[in-house]
């Protein structure tokens, strides 16, 4: 396979391809039979390089033909680069007892019933040990407050 002979030739070729693709990106693939757009699961698995040849082949084909999905992957790659190397803080475990319960209750209250007969329960099986944990934390707080006052 001939490689460009010089930097000048390489640069000319780069510009030639660049100008052509800027005008006619669809020349690389007709937009027909692309199927549905890629979902978050497939997009992120592709970007992370987790897919086998068998799995990635239809995705690569889709990304060549679908400017929308390709642009999303490009944006996500940029985002990944921008966010890399920065640690995110985790919320301290005992920061706010019962917060998750309230969060789930709030989320459950926003569920839209599909019919009048639908009854939506707040969330799945609240666990007793959470209540115990909350109580223990509250008790600890009370004790420390008493100690401080004493």
């Amino acid at each position: 396979m001939p490689r460009p002979k010089s930097n000048k030739e390489s640069d000319r070729l780069r510009r030639l391809v660049h100008q052509h693709l800027q005008h006619r990106p669809a020349s690389l693939a007709p937009a027909s039979s692309l199927g549905a757009h890629l979902d978050e699961d497939a997009l992120s698995a592709f970007i992370e390089g987790r897919l086998s040849n068998l799995e990635s082949a239809p995705l690569v084909r889709h990304l060549v033909g679908c400017g929308s999905c390709r642009r999303i992957t490009a944006q996500l790659i940029r985002l990944d680069t921008e966010l890399s190397g920065v640690e995110t803080e985790t919320i301290p475990a005992s920061e706010e007892p019962g917060r998750i319960r309230r969060l789930l209750a709030d989320l459950a209250s926003r569920v839209l019933p599909s019919s009048e007969d639908d009854v939506v329960f707040a969330y799945h099986a609240p666990a007793d040990d959470f209540e115990k944990q909350d109580k223990a934390i509250e008790q600890d707080d009370d004790e420390s407050e008493e100690k401080e006052q004493g």
Partner: protein
């Protein structure tokens, strides 16, 4: 799904039942209070297998070995957490919130603009993850669409990104991603071959010549690009159309399993012995140059064989396409071109 395909698939999954059970036992041991029984776990893995390993169009079903490898590569703890969250398990949500809220907040703050408040984005992501629609008595949690193929973190990044886009669109009524994103140049209308508006006989000759070369060049480039492999096309599109920088493409292929990386490394004898080594920007540049080389070879042969152009005329085509020569320069360029050898 075709019956025979389904039968083969069921058989292969049944053969892997013990492996799936072993995975479930491992997950249940590390998170005993997520309340995911074997049936639910099997269903989650089945959804992932259906999505990535079954090719209905070609009638391909995976073998038991392929399934074993696939489930072995899944981000199984992430999937276990997502399945439990989809079912609304409080322990799982607590764990999720502890581990990922900070990350979600960081992406939301990074992406949110003046119009889209980060807090609003975070709220909408949590609502979407939990699910507000009920279909057949089942709450449609976004978590149910996660298969564990990529990391939960990577998946969340994409979910948050989409939430920001949706919110932005809602605010701006029909604003497209193209307008929002800073990349995506392909939709922009750029002036190409310079339009000429000159009178006179020589200008008319110029226009005719110019049109001939233009048509030949465009057709030859179309053909040359169309014969590339899909991986080569995608690399060109990321670089030239989406405007990704070499270092950003290098990051995309950072993971040794990256499809682009594997494909290009298979073409390169030099790197095949060190598949785990880091891909540098210079490597991506080399890949691009190889693709340009292929395009050039085909481009020249197309112009010579199909359009019957001489070397000098081919040079003119390249010059016109890259320099966008003014019409009167075309003949001058041809006159100055060295004779064909």
């Amino acid at each position: 799904m075709i019956l025979s395909l389904l039968t083969i698939l069921e058989g292969a999954i049944t053969e892997c039942a013990a492996d799936i059970d072993a995975l479930h036992a491992r997950c249940a041991q590390s998170a005993p209070n997520y309340d995911i029984d074997s049936e639910i776990f099997h269903a989650a893995l089945r959804a992932a297998i259906d999505k990535y390993l079954v090719d209905e169009q070609r009638g391909n079903a995976p073998t038991p070995d392929e399934i074993r490898q696939f489930i072995g590569e899944l981000q199984i703890n992430d999937l276990y957490l997502a399945v439990a969250c989809a079912r609304g398990n409080e322990h799982a949500w607590w764990e999720f919130d502890q581990s990922y809220r900070g990350y979600i907040e960081r992406i939301a703050r990074h992406l949110a603009s003046a119009e889209t408040d980060a807090e609003e984005v975070i709220d909408s992501v949590y609502v979407e993850l939990y699910g507000t629609r009920i279909v057949n008595d089942v709450r449609q949690s976004k978590f149910a669409t996660y298969t564990g193929r990529g990391t939960l973190k990577g998946w969340l990044r994409t979910v948050v990104w989409h939430a920001v886009i949706d919110m932005h669109r809602a605010r701006r009524d029909e604003v497209s991603i193209d307008d929002w994103s800073e990349g995506g140049g392909e939709m922009h209308d750029r002036p190409g071959w310079r339009a000429e508006a000159r009178g006179g006989e020589s200008a008319m000759v110029d226009r005719v010549m110019r049109e001939r070369y233009r048509e030949a060049t465009v057709a030859a480039l179309d053909t040359s690009l169309a014969m590339l492999d899909e991986h080569e096309k995608l690399l060109l599109l990321y670089y030239h159309v989406e405007g990704l920088k070499l270092r950003e493409i290098a990051r995309l292929v950072e993971e040794p399993q990256s499809p682009l990386r594997r494909w290009f490394q298979r073409q390169s004898k030099r790197r095949v012995d060190v598949p785990e080594s880091r891909v540098h920007e210079s490597t991506v540049m080399r890949w691009l140059e190889k693709v340009y080389g292929k395009v050039l070879e085909r481009f020249r042969s197309e112009l010579q064989e199909k359009s019957g152009l001489s070397d000098a005329e081919i040079e003119t085509c390249v010059e016109m396409a890259t320099e966008d020569l003014a019409p009167e320069d075309v003949r001058r360029h041809l006159l100055n071109a060295p004779a064909d050898s």
